[in-house]
Subunit: 127 residues, 2 copies
Amino acid sequence: MKKSLLVVAHGSRRQASNDEVRALTERVRAESNERFAAIECAFLELAEPSIPDGLARLIADGAAHITVLPYFLSAGRHVAEDIPEEVEGVQAAHPDVHIEIAPYLGTSEVMPRLLLTMLGDSAAASA
Amino acid sequence: MKKSLLVVAHGSRRQASNDEVRALTERVRAESNERFAAIECAFLELAEPSIPDGLARLIADGAAHITVLPYFLSAGRHVAEDIPEEVEGVQAAHPDVHIEIAPYLGTSEVMPRLLLTMLGDSAAASA
């Protein structure tokens, strides 16, 4: 059975920032090759839906296994404590649903390569 | 002449978070194939060096052209206002040095692909 995915971002007072996360989630959906049953985003604070609301939406939609992906660059308090706390509350209310938290974005092994690519690595490679 | 690179992160009260940025910068340096004259990191707040200090270090080291890369996921106030403001102060004091701000990390076109890869995309691709 396919897993569902919840991309969790910090949330901002600037709606444009939140919309960036929503657009990213759309693109993940478009590029996911229907690998996930559903893909949604949620915000730790300052924007909607909240993490519990995002999880509830997926569960109401029939999700039995949800992967939470923290769209964060470093393991600050939000990643280390706040997101797990929000998830645990929902998990306790839905013991039948398996919810797991994936490593946060900043742990990606390819991050240095991504930064160099953004800076025009290909040009450098040919130099 | 080679450019110099300053990776700018938010900074955290958690030293482990700041050390993640320092380790990332080390890896960018290691994978950069000596494309930059120098690569350093700096923090907008809560950690050292500050952006002005990071820029000053590169300039003292002879940098004539510096690219500032905001290690940020969305265009909040920090990216839109705070980083440009910090850079402008240094630029005004060093009109002979060319300082440019690159697009922030969150604008990367490959971000959706990166997230899917982190979630084990290769396994899905073969399914």
